[in-house]
């Protein structure tokens, strides 16, 4: 276990730094050109982004760090390792905060990058949309529960990347709604996986089955989290995803094929995860499982309560775009 943990740390650190060091240099040269790095001033005094090799490299340098953070499908190798090896608090912060930093970075930097984004965002769009389907399919074959949730993170963030690259108002709204919704949902799923891990000391999906019989209330949280993850109405996950799918359809009609099948695959693996952990026959090797703690239920309520309340007033997370 030790070796994989150290490996995961190394992968995480080096993937992040390979993206962020060119970002540092790109930002320093941005400051050199405009005179300031204040976002207000940059909006008013945009740098010239012409179709030269230098400016193309500059465009990639400014965006790659955030793509690695999100993570984009081709650069996502650090995420399953990091999530699987991290303790629960680390996984929660990683899923709910760190990934969204990448999304926030893309939203903040995109206005500076026109007009090159019209042509150069295509590779990232392709990778993001293809990643939605690919990582969703990988989820169906996972044996490790945390790894499944990690790949589902990549899948949802792929939608966010595709949306933020189109730079429309609906896309931005959908992106930040989905980021907040996914942050809460993913963190809650990791907490639920941790309750299993604390009792069985294993992340294997098939090990803790038919939990509904043993922990009925916990299975309620499992149900709510899984329903939110597959974007059931009226959750904010659905609001985010639907807004993104609509804006992507507006950008190009063909994306509906990928986003639609992505939605179906998401529902499939979420139901797979739910049914494997909650239903099925009780395994014969489960003798004693300690009861649930109040702190675990409190943790789940603290996740599901904002999600439920935001259903009533989603304007709070729609941002200033529309």
């Amino acid at each position: 276990h030790e070796m994989e943990r150290l490996n995961a740390g190394t992968y995480f650190l080096f993937y992040t730094l390979i993206g962020s060091l060119p970002l540092l240099i790109a930002l320093l040269s941005l400051q050199n050109q405009i005179g300031t790095l204040s976002t207000h001033m940059i909006q008013l005094n945009q740098p010239t982004m012409s179709n030269t090799w230098a400016h193309t490299t500059w465009w990639f340098a400014l965006l790659t760090a955030f793509m690695i953070k999100m993570p984009l499908y081709g650069l996502h190798l650090w995420l399953p390792k990091a999530h699987v090896e991290a303790p629960i608090a680390g996984s929660m912060i990683l899923a709910a905060v760190l990934l969204k930093l990448g999304g926030y970075g893309i939203i903040r930097i995109m206005p500076t990058l026109n007009p090159l984004s019209k042509t150069l965002s295509y590779p990232f769009m392709v990778l993001a949309l293809w990643g939605v389907i690919m990582t969703g399919s990988i989820c169906l074959r996972q044996t490790d529960l945390k790894s499944l949730i990690a790949y589902s993170s990549v899948s949802h963030m792929g939608l966010v990347i595709a949306a933020t690259l189109t730079q429309t108002q609906w896309a931005y709204t959908g992106a930040i709604t989905l980021m907040i919704a996914h942050g809460l949902t993913s963190s809650m799923l990791f907490c639920l996986a941790n309750t299993n891990y604390e009792r069985t000391h294993s992340r294997t999906l098939l090990l803790a089955r038919n939990m509904q019989l043993l922990y009925p209330l916990m299975s309620l949280w499992w149900l709510l989290a899984s329903l939110a993850n597959m974007a059931i109405p009226p959750t904010i996950n659905l609001m985010g995803e639907l807004t993104i799918i609509t804006s992507l359809f507006n950008w190009s009609n063909i994306t509906i094929l990928m986003t639609g099948s992505g939605t179906i695959i998401t529902a499939t693996y979420t139901l797979y995860m739910l049914s494997t952990t909650q239903w099925g026959g009780t395994p014969s090797y489960i003798k004693t499982m300690p009861p649930t703690h109040t702190r675990e239920h409190l943790l789940m309520i603290l996740h599901i309560l904002p999600m439920t309340l935001l259903v009533m007033k989603p304007e709070l997370i729609w941002g200033t775009f529309c």
């Binding site: 030790e2 150290l6 740390g9 190394t10 650190l13 080096f14 730094l17 390979i18 060091l21 060119p22 540092l24 240099i25 320093l28 040269s29 050199n32 230098a54 490299t57 340098a61």
Partner: protein, 346 residues
């Protein structure tokens, strides 16, 4: 050591670089370099171990050759220009020869081959003096002549040194050789920015000195010299072990620690001069050194019980704590927020 000998050696060691730093005449600068070389030879060879003798011999040969070349370049300059002023080094050939000589003295690539073996052959404290104090004199000569030096040559030396330092350390398990490769890499960063902003060279040198001294003192206190004893060093002084990880990450140049400051300022200066490829190359190459610093910090700090250690315990001697180590650790880890103040240091 005999107190008379010790007094002579220590005073010569202190006086040598100070003489070089404060001189305007080439002969006096060369004299200071020779004094510092001669004074440290007995310190390197003190152990009477064959490896120490070999290290002393290698050090003497390389430094003497470099000093001869410095003398030659200054004589050439004096012959063509008629004056011995260090800052008026206008003859191009003598600048090139001087750069080569100082590269040999400092241990820049491709003249770095002596540094790991010399550092490995000496004791920890002598290695500390070799990497910090002995670099002062040649670096001050570089800074004094920086306006006449050839920028592409400096950039090439800097890039190859960073590459060599990064790659050399990847295969090492001995901590002194790792510190040697760290020295090569950091000197690479210093020479990169030399002709563009000598002030940043000096700032990098000061922060490098503090961080390296801290690391060497920690190595001395924990008595860990190789990877095989690092895994059980946390038992001696647990807090120091944690600080060792922070100091190593500071050497690697990770924000928000001090070591990020010189790298950030150098990258900023390079970008202002539109040397983007150089800046990106230097930044990404420092990731090589980051890997072995990270590996050391894994072995010392991150793999702790209840995980099983793969190595045997060491004999426990009386841990000699150094009281100034705490202050130096604080300096080597927390100086980043006061960067504007540090930029005012000439």
């Amino acid at each position: 050591m005999n107190p008379y000998a010790s007094m002579i050696i220590t005073s010569s060691l202190i006086m040598g670089p100070l003489l070089t730093v404060s001189s305007n005449h080439w002969i006096l600068a060369w004299t200071g370099l020779e004094i510092s070389t001669l004074a440290i030879i007995p310190l390197i060879a003190k152990q009477h171990h064959p490896r120490a003798i070999e290290a002393a011999t290698k050090y003497f040969l390389t430094q003497a050759t470099a000093s001869t070349l410095i003398l030659f370049s200054s004589i050439m300059n004096a012959w063509t220009l008629g004056q011995w002023d260090i800052t008026q080094m206008s003859n191009n050939t003598s600048c090139i020869v001087l750069t080569t000589a100082l590269a040999i003295k400092l241990g820049l690539a491709p003249f770095h081959f002596w540094l790991p073996e010399v550092l490995q052959g000496t004791t920890t404290m002598t290695a500390l003096i070799l990497t910090t104090w002995q670099k002062l004199a040649p670096l001050s000569l570089l800074v004094m002549t920086s306006q006449s030096l050839n920028t592409p040559l400096m950039l090439a030396l800097g890039l190859t040194s960073a590459l060599t330092g990064g790659w050399y350390g990847l295969n090492q398990t001995q901590l002194r050789k790792i510190m040697a490769s760290s020295s090569i890499a950091h000197l690479g960063w210093m020479t990169t920015i030399l002709t563009l902003s000598p002030k940043l060279t000096l700032l990098t040198f000061y922060t490098y000195t503090i961080m390296t001294s801290t690391t060497f003192l920690m190595i001395k206190t924990l008595e860990t010299n190789m990877m095989s004893v690092m895994m059980t060093s946390w038992t001696k002084l647990p807090t120091l072990n944690t600080m060792m990880m922070l100091t190593l990450m500071s050497l690697a140049g990770l924000p928000p620690l001090t070591g990020f400051m010189p790298k950030w300022l150098i990258l900023q200066e390079l970008t202002k001069q539109h040397m983007f490829i150089m800046a990106t190359a230097m930044a990404l190459i420092s990731l090589l050194s980051l890997f072995f610093y990270l590996r050391i910090s894994y072995y010392t700090t991150i793999t702790l019980p209840p995980n099983s250690t793969n190595y045997l315990q060491q004999w426990r001697h009386k841990t000699n704590k150094k009281p100034y180590l705490a202050m130096m650790t604080m300096l080597s880890v927390t100086l980043l927020p006061i960067t504007p103040t540090l930029l005012t240091i000439p």
